[in-house]
Subunit: 397 residues, 2 copies
């Protein structure tokens, strides 16, 4: 049995490990300056608070934390999340909420619930690699719709909807991954109108919505949905802890019921201790005050990275100037292969994510890359950007 | 949009909530005596130990527990699990190990990695409902192979393999769910030989292997595999805590690599805190001593339940006498519908799981049911068995 390939399902055959996750292995080398990840700043983790909370839960209610739980999630956490989300209008009458093992599971099970083999799904081009891989694993036909500075190009979207029987449109409207772009209010309304017209479901992924450090909030797509066609995915990964793996899906009850059945067969339920810890944290502490710290820090770090880029990057490259989130996207002249630039930068011990990872066709070279500013100290940011700038100048001539 | 059914994928349409998980909701009524679950005894949970461990981890290494981790799992836990499993021969050269969010995720992703729509998969009849639902969600063609007192009927298995191009054989060889039956050594060898002959992969699920309270251990199927065709799934759910959701898959590296890629797109990684807690527990405490307590307790409870059944059940029903695990299967005269018996028992405030849940065709009435003895105190076990006995006598005449 040297070749196990023949045992693999068709859906799993084309899947490769995410370049970003693989990059995590590189990051184990402390000499590497990684601008590759999408991790929150570790100095913001409320370790002491969560330590006390975890200790107390297990001491006073061990059975609650250690026994099996219900698939839909720990009830007090569900209620607290609903309360938070209600403030931004992302939960409505007729909706249900389910806790998932990170937003990734919410996305994965929504895809599993909806997408048949070969069915067209619209994604932003570029978009989050985790969603691309999940959709690939259900053999979706991926259709990338190009991005403008204010979100998905609506003409391209309409064209895609007109020419394909699209069931699902996936979007990260706010501080998009990898671009940092935020979809304008007008485009959000247009997106809803087009989904209505072409009877498509929208999967709105909002991991970064809380992390605005400039400009003013724009309503979520879900909050403006009047026909129950938006499935909303949220997470605590960027505002509390990604290692706890707590996400949630909010949608019309029909959708959530189906996702719940699929979750039963996927992991039975999300671990209880971390759910209970999140609930206790929300009850005991003012998470908004804590988020405020994140906003301030990321705003400063983003500004600093942009300053360094202005200083060290050649003017043949352009980049986004996000108002929140964790990422800056940097575009090089057409025809440049970001993977070649990455290879050169890795020699200088600096890592980022090459653009092709975020593309429907990941084998095709892409002329852009993603930079993250949330985890590295400023001196490393400067050192890293300087090194990338040097490579860019050498390589782009 | 009153009918969202039309949006659902073909794979998700037939899936219904597991009757067992639904039963959990009933169990919220403290007046109900539930012999339905498959939960470990809550009095065995080492709450105090885990409280100290969790508190310390979050205090001394908050970033380790709260930041993103690698998809394959927390390395020290992987090493400790490998060490344990090596003692029973279930990990070999060329194998890899991956931590999963409960054994359920291991089963689900193994199915996703291997099974194409319409492909024949052999399962024991009856078998674990979680696996049935997972296989259904990948549109496997399920083939049930009947059980003898010493495991799968090998003639029926060979017949199934001969007549179908079976890629995967799913088995719980030790203290099977729901039957409590253990596959004999001869049958394990025959199973391997048949898998070899018909080139099928074996998915060996072993959640109860540590819980033997009578008889002697039989080698795992994995330990006797010489061609890398057994995917082994284990879990801490029955020996430490199900709420922590920590399982693992061990198999030839090809299989585990594929499962890792699918896990990336499914939940990125299993929550870190609970993985670190399990590792610390294994390091600091003698889990075998703790397992010894579980064995003793379950042995006593099983014996007590069987005693009650001998006393209160009519002799028209027969039942298994397991040497370990958590379940007794009770068979009524042919033609009896266990769901009708369950409905009557629920009126008496006693719950168990009706047999049809464990069948490939769950809509067909089954003449057996599953009883669990691990969670209820003895007086409730007697009260429950007495009530079921009364219903059985009334209903079976």
């Amino acid at each position: 049995m040297n070749n196990n390939e023949r045992y693999f399902s068709e859906r799993s055959k084309p899947l490769k490990a995410s370049a970003i996750r693989e990059m995590f292995k590189l990051m184990a080398d402390p000499a590497v300056i990684s601008l590759a990840g999408g991790s929150p700043a570790p100095e913001l983790f409320p370790g002491e608070e969560l330590s006390k909370i975890a200790g107390k839960i297990l001491m006073t209610n061990p059975t609650g934390a250690l026994q099996y739980g219900t698939t839909d999630g720990y009830k007090p956490l569900k209620e607290l999340v609903a309360e938070r989300v209600r403030k931004i209008g992302s939960i409505k009458e007729g909706d249900k909420l389910i806790i998932t093992t990170g937003a990734q599971q919410g996305i994965d099970l929504a895809a599993k619930a909806l997408v048949n083999e070969g069915e067209p799904v619209v994604v932003e081009a570029p978009t989050f690699v985790g969603t691309l891989n999940s959709l690939r694993s259900y053999q979706a036909k991926l259709i990338g719709v190009k991005m403008d500075d204010d979100g998905m190009n609506m003409e391209a979207l309409e064209e895609a909807l007109k020419n394909n029987n699209v069931k699902l449109i996936y979007t990260i409207p706010t501080f998009q991954n990898p671009s940092g772009i935020t979809m304008s209010l007008e485009k959000r309304k247009k997106l809803l109108a087009l989904a209505e017209q072409y009877d498509a479901v929208i999967l709105e992924d909002n991991p970064y919505g809380d992390l605005r450090f400039a400009g003013t909030d724009i309503p979520t797509v879900k909050s403006m949905d009047t026909s129950g066609r938006v499935i909303y995915v949220g997470t605590f990964s960027k505002i509390l802890s990604p290692g706890m793996r707590i996400g949630y899906v909010i949608a019309n009850a029909d959708f959530v019921d189906k996702i719940e059945v699929l979750k039963q067969a996927n992991d039975v339920h999300t671990p209880l201790l971390t759910q209970m810890m999140a609930a206790e944290f929300l009850k005991k502490y003012d998470i908004d005050q804590y988020i405020e710290k994140s906003r301030k820090l990321y705003g400063e770090k983003c500004a600093f990275m942009l300053e360094c880029m202005d200083k060290y990057f050649p003017n043949t490259v352009s980049y986004t100037r996000p108002q929140g989130g964790l990422f800056i996207m940097c575009t090089m002249p057409e025809g440049t292969d970001s993977n070649k630039i990455l290879a050169e930068c890795l020699k200088e011990k600096v890592a980022f994510v090459a653009g092709n990872s975020f593309e429907v066709d990941a084998d095709k070279p892409a002329n852009y890359f993603r930079l993250n500013y949330s985890t590295m100290p400023n001196e490393k940011i400067e050192q890293g950007i300087k090194a990338i700038g040097k490579v860019l100048k050498e390589q782009l001539g």
